[in-house]
C-alpha cells in the first residue's frame, strides 16, 4: 500500500490519479498540448468569423449554421492536440516503462481524465469567444453547458481510445482523423442538435439521453478494449 494514500481511495483509483497528475505536471512544464489546442482553435475561429462576416449570417441561418461550426472547430482542435497523450509516450519511448508498471484500466482512466480536462479547458476558452464574435444569442444557456459537457466527454473518450490505437501505427497524424471521425460522427450529430436546441430555446428531447448513452457506451467499451490495444 502506498504510504500516505487514504484508505478510502481504492488502489486502482490512486493509480489513475497518479497518471492524471503526471500528465498535467508534464504538460504544465512544456505547455505543448495547451498551446496546440488553444492556438489551433483560436486561429480556426478567427478564420471562420472573418470569412462569414462579410456574408452576413442572418438569425435564422445562424441557428442552423453556427452550432455546426462550433463543433467542427472543437473537433479539429481535439484532433490536433489530443492524440499526443499516447503518441508522445511511444515516441519518447516511455511507453515501455508504463507497460511494465501500470494497470491498463487505471492508465486508461488517468489518460481519459486528462483528456477531459483538456477538452473542458478548450471549451471554456472557445465558447465564450465564439458566442461573442458570432453574435450568437443563446436562449437556453444551461442546455448549452450540458451539451458542451456531454459532447465534450464523448469527444474526449472516443479520441483517447483512438489515440491509443494510432500511437502504435505509422502516419499517426492523418490516421487519427481518418479513424476517429466515423466513430465520432453520431456524437457530433447529436450534440449539434442539442446545441441548436439550446440556441433556439427548444427542449432537449431525445438527443440528450442518446448522447449520454453514447458517452457511456464508448467509455465502457473503451475500458474493455484498451488492454487489448495497449499490451501484446
Amino acid at each position: 500500500m502506498s504510504p500516505g494514500a487514504s484508505n478510502w481511495i481504492p488502489d486502482w483509483a490512486a493509480e489513475a490519479l497518479a497518471v492524471f497528475a503526471k500528465e498535467w505536471r508534464c504538460e504544465l512544464r512544456t505547455q505543448v498540448a495547451l498551446n496546440t489546442l488553444g492556438l489551433f482553435a483560436v486561429t480556426t475561429l478567427v478564420v471562420a468569423s472573418v470569412s462569414l462576416g462579410p456574408l452576413g449570417v442572418s438569425k435564422s441561418q445562424g441557428s442552423a449554421l453556427l452550432p455546426v461550426l462550433l463543433w467542427l472547430i472543437l473537433l479539429f482542435s481535439v484532433a490536433a492536440g489530443l492524440p499526443r497523450a499516447f503518441v508522445q509516450e511511444e515516441e519518447s519511448q516511455t511507453a515501455t516503462a508504463l507497460r511494465l508498471s501500470a494497470t491498463p484500466s487505471a492508465l486508461f482512466c488517468g489518460k481519459l481524465l486528462y483528456s477531459l480536462t483538456l477538452v473542458a479547458a478548450l471549451e471554456a476558452l472557445i465558447t465564450p469567444i465564439y458566442v461573442t464574435i458570432m453574435n450568437l444569442e443563446v436562449k437556453d444557456p444551461a442546455l448549452l453547458v450540458g451539451a458542451l459537457a456531454a459532447g465534450g466527454y464523448g469527444l474526449a473518450a472516443g479520441s483517447t481510445l483512438v489515440a491509443a490505437i494510432i500511437a502504435q501505427a505509422r502516419s499517426k497524424g492523418t490516421l487519427f482523423s481518418v479513424l476517429s471521425f466515423p466513430i465520432l460522427l453520431p456524437l457530433l450529430i447529436l450534440v449539434i442538435e442539442l446545441t441548436r436546441n439550446a440556441v433556439l430555446g427548444d427542449p432537449a428531447g431525445l438527443a440528450l439521453g442518446q448522447l449520454l448513452l453514447y458517452d457511456a457506451s464508448v467509455s465502457i467499451f473503451g475500458l474493455m478494449l484498451f488492454p487489448v490495444v495497449w499490451n501484446p
Binding site: A14, K22, S101
Partner: protein, 210 residues
C-alpha cells in the same frame, strides 16, 4: 519459495521475413542467473522482451511461477524488473518525480528506489532530460528494483556505466541473487560477462536464430 521458476520453451519470433528467434529454450531457478550472449542481431533483446511480456512470441511457451502459482502475461509484466537500453523516462520530470510516479503506479513506496539511487550516487533532483547516459543507466536500475522483483531481466545492464557505477550495480545483482529465498535473473549481453552465480548460458546465433 518452492516452485518459483522461469521456463521458456521453443520461443519463436519473426519480424516480417526475418526470423529472429527460431526456437529458444531455457530455464532459471531461484538464485540462478542465465546469461544470454550472441552478436548483434541474434535476438537477445527480442528474447528478453518476450520474457518481459512486452512482445508476444509467434510460438512457444513462457511460464513464470512464483510459489506454486503460474502468473499470466499481464501479471508477469508487472512483476519483473527490466533494464534495457531503450527504456526511457519522463524528461520533463526530475529523477525523484519519476520514481515517485512509478512507485504510485506499482502501489509501493518509493523508498527502495531512492535507496538504490543513493547507493549508485545519483542526485534525485535533476531533470531526467539533463542526465548523461551513465546516469540514465543508474536510474534504470533504480526503477527496475523499485518494487523488489523476484525476476530481473537485464539487457546490457552495465552499458554506459563508469567503474563505480558498474561496481554498484554488480553488487545489487549479487545481492538480488543471493538474498533468500533467491532472486532469478536473465542477463543479455553482446559479450560474455564475468558474473558470479551464472548457472546457465545461452548462445544465440544470428544465422540459426537460436
Amino acid at each position: 519459495m518452492p516452485g518459483t521458476r522461469l521456463e521458456f520453451e521453443n520461443v519463436r519470433r519473426r519480424f516480417g521475413r526475418l526470423s529472429v528467434l527460431q526456437g529458444v529454450s531455457g530455464s532459471v531457478a531461484p538464485g540462478e542467473a542465465l546469461l544470454v550472449t550472441g552478436p548483434n542481431g541474434s535476438g537477445k533483446s527480442t528474447l528478453l522482451r518476450c520474457l518481459a511480456g512486452i512482445l508476444a512470441p509467434d510460438a512457444g511457451r513462457i511460464e513464470y511461477r512464483e510459489g506454486e502459482r503460474a502468473l499470466d502475461v499481464a501479471e508477469r509484466r508487472l512483476r519483473v524488473g527490466y533494464v534495457a537500453p531503450d527504456l526511457a523516462f519522463y524528461s520533463e520530470l526530475t529523477v525523484a518525480e519519476n520514481l515517485r510516479f512509478f512507485a504510485r503506479l506499482r502501489r509501493v513506496g518509493p523508498e527502495r528506489g531512492f535507496a538504490v539511487l543513493d547507493r549508485l550516487a545519483l542526485p534525485t533532483d535533476r531533470m531526467v532530460g539533463a542526465l548523461s547516459s551513465g546516469m540514465r543507466q543508474r536510474l534504470r536500475w533504480a526503477w527496475a528494483l523499485l518494487h523488489r522483483p523476484r525476476l530481473l531481466l537485464l539487457d546490457e545492464p552495465f552499458q554506459n556505466l563508469d567503474a563505480p557505477g558498474e561496481e554498484g550495480t554488480r553488487a545489487l545483482l549479487a545481492e538480488h541473487l543471493a538474498e533468500p529465498p533467491g532472486g532469478l535473473a536473465v542477463i543479455a549481453n553482446p559479450s560474455s560477462l564475468e558474473i558470479d552465480r551464472v548457472t546457465g548460458r545461452l548462445e544465440l546465433d544470428p544465422r540459426l536464430g537460436r
